[in-house]
Symmetry: C2
């Protein structure tokens, strides 16, 4: 493998000294970029993009051509795993992801099996292809949805405002939800390990919906399964640590618990004071975040001021990976994203002297 | 005025001794009740319900006929105030509330004026009518949306997934947002004081969207205006304290700050551990909450278990008003709501011996 030219991101995840605070943006390859929309049009559909290693490579690299980002992230969808489990993923125009089959009755849940990795080969091929195209420029992040987040989609059959069916199962038939989560956790572990084998240099678990749970249910139904996954991951390749980032949107109240499940880094959404978060988690983990993605709708000057506030709140020393607190909006101005990347690189050097 | 027959709710808000933990449910008069849907059909529209003191009285009392709730809450909408400010509230079928005019350009914001109370007389008439109908059975809660929450609707023109226009103004033109919030805070103060004058025995400020802000922006754009309102409220009527409840959905990380703005009670959503919350706020305030409204989709047994968990987490002594962590779902089974009320009354006595 080619030597990494910029390992700032990996070093920050491991709290090793860096010259500046690295930055990447969740959903950095996406609809806010006209070049992404052009490739998406060529591919014909969103899944056409995801299932083609060439297109996935093209869109993964697009934001790196515009901005000096410190990491690339595999372009894919969190729902590839349930799709491989046979649920039949499709995208209804203007409606977001849907599944043809949902997991609500006991028979369907008992019949559920671990995702066959061969159905996900297109993802691992994309990882290899992106690694070759990056040629050591920056590290490549692999990712998966958390078991609870995937289960939400599998049970509701798509997005949901209230997770009514998930909550009904969680409270009335918890053993059924545990079965789904257990099989999904096994699937995600194998899926992330195969991404690592194909070349992912760090992995992130996206727990988009864990924050919809009560603090007690979060521990039992989301956190425990992420801990199980992390315990089963390949953590070193060719003598280099493969860091794990765990991000629960809305998990700011539970940081001490999240920091204890074995990840190298905990992602924060923008509602958390990153300075207080650093005190709460101590030396256990690095922190990633936590710029309000919708603060990109401000002006270049207000974007710089907000970046400065977050950098100052984290303070001196390594262990901070700058990011948005959630995915970038499709309506964001690319120039504003560029202003953020520039501000973070420029303003962070003083904290690493 | 008639003597109160059940003042458990008011006593708990003031942390005075009680025999059991009182309970009411946010949105307890609502679509999950068939009798509500029948009255709504008679009234012809949602605003028809709100603007008729007779209908508002009828639906306010409906849940009390079914369940031995410890408080009634005025049936109204949080958007009455912006409507009175001239924004033109309407309800598009299946789309939620909308405004004919939005507050996005400087001229419209400079022209904004405090809501004339005479346009809100129908609300105060409803309060008086409900007090007469209650005849001292339980206390009546008045309410308003928080300035920030109302501003979200006024600027976006309706609900929003990302508060794009609000965030753009907040970051790029904060002085414009402050003007809206200042005028709205003055309107809300007068509105709540008029509800208290008409007979509301406690008031709640609903900060539904404050949790969408960064921790820093929350303090400046939401909390500060709620503090200003509370400082301007009538706090005693006929020698009896009129308690104030403040509820920021998603505000669990900021409890210490919220507890310091002068309210008697802080509402919690279900993501917060109420036992830890009690330690964090100390003796400053009572706590209200925090049953996951979607846990009502479980079974009567799981509802009882979850209620027991929350009561035990709060522990011994007064200062807990049981409630949901957000409004009850339109899809909730009324029998399950009844099971919750029964469980709380039955299981809480041991904590008040």
């Amino acid at each position: 493998m080619t030597q990494l030219k910029n390992d700032t991101f990996l070093r920050a995840l491991l709290k090793q000294p860096v010259d500046y605070t690295p930055i990447w943006m969740m959903r950095q390859a996406g609809r806010y970029l006209p070049e992404y929309r052009a490739t998406r049009a060529k591919a014909g559909s969103f899944m056409g993009l995801c299932t083609s290693p060439d297109y996935a490579t093209e869109v993964t690299l697009q934001p790196l051509e515009r901005f000096p980002l410190d990491a690339a992230i595999l372009f894919s969808d969190i729902l590839t795993v349930p799709d491989a489990m046979g649920l039949g993923l499709y995208f209804a125009e203007g409606e977001g992801p849907k599944f043809e089959r949902t997991l609500r009755d006991e028979a369907a849940i008992q019949a559920l099996e671990v995702a066959p990795l061969e159905k996900l080969q297109y993802v691992f091929d994309a990882v290899s292809s992106i690694r070759r195209a990056l040629d050591g420029r920056v590290p490549l992040i692999g990712f998966s949805g958390s078991p609870f987040t995937l289960a939400c989609y599998m049970i509701e059959g798509g997005g949901s405002a209230d997770f009514r069916h998930v909550k009904a199962m969680l409270y009335a038939r918890p053993e059924l939800l545990h079965r789904i989560l257990q099989i999904t956790a096994q699937s995600v572990t194998a899926y992330l390990n195969a991404q690592i084998a194909a070349g992912a240099q760090a992995v992130q678990i996206f727990d988009t919906w864990g924050g919809a749970l009560s603090h007690a249910a979060y521990r039992e139904f989301s956190l425990a399964y992420m801990q199980q996954i992390i315990a089963g991951l390949t953590r070193e390749v060719d003598g280099r640590r493969v860091p794990v980032i765990v991000f629960t949107k809305g998990g700011g109240q539970w940081l001490e618990a999240i920091a204890g499940i074995g990840a190298d880094c905990v992602g924060l959404d923008w509602t958390t004071d990153i300075g207080l978060a650093r005190v709460r988690v101590g030396e256990q983990v690095a922190l990633q975040g936590n710029f309000d993605p919708n603060a990109l709708f401000g002006s270049p000057a207000s974007i710089e001021a907000e970046a400065a506030r977050i950098l100052a709140a984290y303070g001196h020393g390594s262990g901070h990976v700058f990011n948005l607190g959630h995915g970038i909006s499709q309506f964001a101005d690319p120039a504003h994203a560029g202003a953020l990347v520039d501000a973070v690189h420029r303003l962070s050097r003083q904290y690493h002297l």
